[in-house]
Symmetry: C2
Subunit: 123 residues, 2 copies
């Protein structure tokens, strides 16, 4: 994983994990990597890994059982709703930025229609 601009790493990792949940790559109730493993996987300090799970738990994305591990939340419906929320948020920001550049809705749709995906070969 590559870490971007100035955004805190732990937020970026959280976002990655959220996407995995929402896409179903991490299923409800499934055990997540231990905080130590997570630290290795994302090349991050254990404290940062712990923080990631702590924040996600506070937001209801997962739950923790001391001595056992951290697990994806079991409330399946939540993820369906959250997926829509995340997409809606992305869309809102994107449209806001594009409007800020002076583009209108029709321009934007045209650009997307012409858009060639660079990583076409994974799904």
């Amino acid at each position: 994983m590559e870490y971007n601009t100035g955004a805190p790493i732990y937020l970026q990792v959280i976002n990655e994990l959220k996407k995995k949940m929402v896409k179903g790559e991490l299923k409800p109730g499934e055990k997540m990597p231990s905080s130590r493993d997570l630290a290795v996987e994302y090349k991050v300090n254990q404290n940062t890994a712990a923080r990631i799970y702590r924040e996600m738990e506070m937001q209801g994305w997962c739950f923790t059982r001391r001595g056992i591990g951290t697990f994806v939340s079991e409330e399946e419906n939540m993820f369906r709703d959250l997926k829509k929320e995340m997409a809606s948020e992305l869309l809102k920001n994107f449209m806001h930025e594009m409007s800020g550049l002076g583009y209108k809705k029709d321009d934007i749709i045209d650009q997307i229609a012409e858009y060639k995906e660079d990583g076409e070969n994974d799904a």
Copy 2:
């Protein structure tokens, strides 16, 4: 102006100023606010304001004349190109994120077509 997530303020302000240039709200050759005024306008420290102009100058967005002020770059063509670049970058990131959530191009276009702009009343 509202400052977002964890992204550094100076980067956010730089982005705002870039957008103004690209939209033509700040025209080529035009004098920009003094670093002190900029600090007040964006509720930021003078050092941060100075840094903003310093970085933007290094990237060629503006130039500085000591004792006089900071001015928008006079290379008009640059802004036209940069506008496209910024839009392209926004589009790429947006599509990448949406794909990451599992959405396909057609879904996305539909969502945009249905999108209602919340701030419809400024332009």
